[in-house]
Amino acid sequence: MIPTPFDYARATSLDDAVAKLKASGGRAKLIAGGHSLVPLMKFRLSEPAALIDIARIPGLSGIREQEGRIHIGAGTVHHDVASSALLRDKCPVVADTAAQIGDPQVRHRGTLGGSLAHADPAADYPAVVLALDADIHLKGPKGWRVVKASDFFKDLFTVDMEADEIIVSVQFAPVRAAAYAKLHQRASRYAIVGVAAALDVSGGRVESARVGLTGAGSHATRLTAVEQALAGQPLTPAAIGAAAERAGAGLTHVNADIHASEDYRRAMVPVFTRRALEGALRRATASTAGRQRSGPSSSGTRWR
């Protein structure tokens, strides 16, 4: 398959990328792993006149901890997220999610920033950044901007990001008591339904919960009914089960395709919500504190 002709330039730094993007006047697109963009170009569904490659910008990838928060560079490939010792220790849900994306080839090329920017309705990361209440750090010609995950996903393939902005990193407070559960579409391995749940736990109770859903609708959303049902509840399977039952509430548009009808998808939302919550519960009971904060870490690359 052959795309339409395009120019190609490699950005040497973040500022260089921003400058090139601005200079192109909307004709150029960033390319990171290329695993969402290139398939579109091959089908000629996307025909950018130029590509600006950000894959080798120094410091755009890497995972580190700073002042109790985890920073993941937008250019970090799924495989590096999946195998990060820091994440496995402090916030395993992110690593688990990355490990379930596509196949090994995809995981060695695709990036966190590309996944969020592309905002495929069936992508996995969006559910997790919602559950972690992550901040998405963007840079554009006008400087830095921080968007909360819950404000970021707007619609089908649409996010709160200007055409000349770049996602630089995703930052969040790590939560151990969090898990992701996913019904795989058996061809692409994307999520038919994917749910990420994060619990703040204290004294055997759920202080607060955040649940992110992907796959079901046009874009990833928080399941606020479930979150509210859990707040203040005891940390028990029964409470979780009851809360998960509310997962379908308020879902207006639900996707349908040859892999899953609307009915089936709708029915899967509470199932995977329960599974995600159960996973989070297991982690909550395994570790003493639900949310662990730790001091700044010196390891990892810097990107800003």
């Binding site: 398959m1 052959i2 002709p5 058996r186 061809a187 040859i258 892999h259 029915a267």
Partner: protein
Amino acid sequence: MTTTPILPKLVGQRVKRREDPRLIQGRATYVDDVTLPGMQHLFFKRSDIAHGRIRRIDASAAQAMEGVEAVFTGAEIAELLGPMPIGTPYSSPAHRAVAVDVVRYVGDPVAVVVARDRYVARDAADAIVVDYEPLPAVVDPELAMKGQPTVIHPEFPNNLAVALVPSGTGVDAAGKVDDSAIDKAFAAAEVVISQRMVNQRLAPCAIEPRGVVAHYELGKGSMTIWSSTQNPHILRTFIAALNGLGQDQVRAIAPEVGGGFGSKINIYAEDYVASAISKRLGVPVKWIEDRSEAFVATTHGRDILGYVDLAAKRDGTVLGLKLRLIADVGAYNMLLTAAIPTLTLLMANATYRIPAVRATLTEVFTNKTPTDAYRGAGRPEATYFVERAMDMLAQELKMDPADVRRRNFIQPHEFPFTTQTGAVYDSGDYEKALNTALEAAGWDRLKAERDAARAQGRLVGLGLSMYVEVCGLGPSSSLPTGGWEHGQVTIERDGRISATTGASPHGQGNETTFAQMLADQFGVPIEHVTIHHGDTAVVKQGVGTFGSRSQAVGGTALHMAGGKVKTKMARFAAALLEAHEADLVFENGRIAVKGAPASAKSFAEVAAFAYVPVPLPEGLEPGLSEEAFFEPANNTYPFGCHISMIEIDRDTGEPTLLKLVAVDDAGNLINPLIVEGQIHGGLAQGIGQALVEEVVYGEDGQLLTGSFMDYALPRATDFPRFELHGCVTPTPVNPLGAKGVGEAGTLGSTPCVVAAAVDALSGFGVRHIDLMLRPEKLWRIIHGGQA
């Protein structure tokens, strides 16, 4: 005296495939690796609607593009090429390589661009504007049979590609049908099982899509064509015919071929068009299929609907089988399209002594990609219909599925066995295969495990399937190309062996198995043997590799040619050694006098003498090269038994295959390692059909599974470790006793996995589940909806 170490016999050994190092190191030459000076590139503009009349094609913008050599529309190609031939005796609509006035499926070519490179060709194709008058799309074969919503080929009323082929008890050679026996069987029945079953459409998905390079040399007036094909000699025949050339003027080459699974038997529009354009323009041209194209432009497989009725006594004895088949063949007849479902008719008897069989076949045109052979080709469908019915009978009678089958097997002493549908099974011991599988799987223990799991609320099920396959195709009476194979063995001057085979392996490992045979036959190291194939200028004659025939037919031809050379070589050696040829033994790279090992000549010495024979032994011509055609007297009929265990997720309906045991009897094995590899591949595709693979069209005839994002192939992680067990019943049809194993894995696996799913969900009152086992479908059964 020193003796060379004894060379071990290789036939029957697990010799590693000689072809693999070059394949896995990326050192093999595929069609796309062929580059010729001045070569132009083709791109096919294809229909993006399922059915429509072409009002106008405007190629002017494309023609004006820099680097575009030419654009041909369907009408212009029709001036160069007649309609594409088919290889079956059924009447067929004229099929133009490039559509002339009507497009009949998404992917039907409408124009061809010839350009400097693939990029320009692709851009130019985008610049061609085609104006269509859309026509209603025919998608459902059962509606199509009523001529609804329209008729695709006016000369085929009600879209009937083949109106009705009857087969079975009481059908005479002229096709006259006497139903008295089958009616009697059903009248006497104590129980009748009736079920409509779908054997869904699949995409073959060879790892290497198709490709062709055609080079007509104006100076010589001859054509060389490289194509990713399973049968270069058949390709040559048809390319010559359509280009008005003699077969002596065409050289067809199948370089390394990255899989075919039956889809590369057919000679395609792109082969014909490339050859015709090269001849017209006098330049070499190349076309390489991309993956998206492959989903629409390469033939699909299966897609047969079966209405099955099984009559039996309450003790499980089968009295009669009715099988009404409706094959959705897509928009056109390709080379073997019409013949593939007739193999389902032929194999309707399965492994059972069914006293009365009535099988009928109707083939229907729809606005879809045409079907043709796909691994198993008609036999998996037959196996599926009959084995599912046997399971339903067992369920109805509350019998163990193994017991119902055991009660009806054709017995070992009954071979050769002529079935109601006219097949003559060569040899078999079905009960042995069943018993071997039951024991290997630990059937009773598995049942206990299943029941224990169920007691915990888990949905676990067991399935079992027998199969018998028709392989080693086949006497010339059964194949329009001839059913023989050709082999030639040459002992070179240095004592090394060059052999050619008309089989055209593309993953089967015959470079290894054939070399094993020849190394043993001549007592030389396997490293001294080279097998050549896939080039009609090197391999004098051939039919090709399909129908699990290369070992049984091609292997035998080489074995026979080897025997002829050996006889001649013995006469040269006898002259050198002053011995009697009957007293000579070929071993350890030498030819020695039996009982007098000191009296010997090296293989190379005898070979050298044969080419410089001074003095020439009386009655001999110089040289050591002999050929043979092997015409088998019959097909071979390998068989086996597959068992599976499956668990279904109660919440989601997702099936997980827990266990798969396969007993496959392919007769004598040349190389068990290669046989296991073939079975693994077959199992993967058979299980894939049960669990994940399905070509889906929308009501408008749009292909909804047009890429791997939507068409699932099974992955290694979807499988448990396959447990393979042997069972050897040699065939009397060829001297090797080998039956064929390339397709076998696809036969038993699909029904046994479905049977296991039905068993797992039997608590919900389900008797049958149509392919494939989508989680949603299973979930609906569990949660009370419709399947």
